[in-house]
Symmetry: C2
Subunit: 218 residues, 2 copies
């Protein structure tokens, strides 16, 4: 749900066709650069060309990742969040007023934007459901099998899932702590639900047993 929005690739293609990017400017961001904060809400629309941005909320002693943006993803800072480049990145950027004029003159842009905002909204609602209804093991299980389904490669032994997030990243994405994620993953490894495969990937023998962790009762 709130893992990646890399299914925006179609939009990217469409955007290129429609010359959506007219008026956007290309910017290079250094690692760690804070593009936007709630305090300074520079309203803008952006599309990631390369790299990885982290969208997150924060209070004094905690952070919650809303999502990670990667190549092709579109985002708009309509909402008071932090946006930070976690690796050197390059993005297409436009200020909202300029974009609004574009919207007014070129109606073909509208459906793209509606879809982008719809997706942001779905992500947000999904996260709310997680926080309000599901407990940590269920959230983690869901995160993992969604990752497997969209990023994983099928092998004879099961699914090989690339995992280029730190435990802390995952924890923040799920609204929990590093310790809880770590414990759960190790416990599941002992139970044979998954195996560590090198440092940056997992092997999941059966997605179904993993999914079973997402729905305790039935």
């Amino acid at each position: 749900m709130h893992a990646h929005a890399h299914h925006t690739r179609p939009d990217f293609a469409e955007a290129a066709q429609n010359a959506l990017l007219d008026g956007f400017t290309l910017r290079e961001l250094a690692k760690g650069y804070l593009l936007s904060t709630p305090a300074c809400p520079r309203n803008q629309v952006l599309m990631v060309q390369s790299g990885r941005l982290r969208v997150y909320l924060a209070d004094d002693n905690r952070e919650l990742n809303l999502s990670f943006l990667e190549a092709g993803d579109i985002y708009t800072t309509h909402t008071p969040t932090y946006v930070e480049a976690v690796v050197p990145s390059s993005i297409w950027l436009i200020e909202t007023p300029v974009f609004a004029r574009k919207l007014a003159t070129d109606p073909s842009v509208t459906p793209v934007m509606m879809r982008v905002m719809g997706r942001l909204l779905s992500n947000a609602v999904g996260l709310i459901e997680d926080l309000a209804f599901r407990e940590v093991p269920a959230r983690l299980a869901r995160f993992l099998w969604q990752l497997a389904e969209r990023r994983g490669h099928r092998l004879e032994h099961g699914w090989l899932v690339p995992l280029d997030f730190s435990m802390q990243d995952i924890a923040s994405l799920l609204g929990t702590t590093r310790q809880s994620v770590s414990s759960l993953i190790n416990q599941w490894e002992r139970e044979g639900i998954l195996q560590r495969q090198g440092r940056r990937s997992l092997l999941v023998p059966s997605l179904d047993t993993l999914k079973a962790r997402g729905a305790p009762l039935p």
Copy 2:
């Protein structure tokens, strides 16, 4: 934040001017009517003419209110939620495909929709912040003073705040339980932070002391 979106009134006025409602049909809903569920995602856009609708998420044994819609509020079921009339209501309704055509032909509608979705997104993010960062007393305090600021009437003794929600409603809005809300309100009454005034309103002597409950440490 996620209390009411009744500040959509300006949109309503604007909508009337632009004849936004062309193509919408007026519908009367009986109390308790379920307009939409996640299972049957009838994509539609609606504007409330009168009454009150409840937008909520649910799992098997819990419900979470996302917001209450009242006269003038606009909503779109882009996202898998329940929408229910809690009192007899009448609303303007349009199916998304029809609305999309409208958007394509009349670009003046676009900014209105963008603002509506932006507001939904802000609500959602606010709720996420609450669930992830703040504990129950802080959420309740914030809910109450926001209600006071937008609905309350200034008296010599303090603010008179109409409270036409049940404890259960408030609890669901804040992602907590009836019991917790009840305990807190009564405790605060004992502490003199607020007084019950009749059955359906509160008297808050000082909003600031109430707000103090929203930020424990400093």
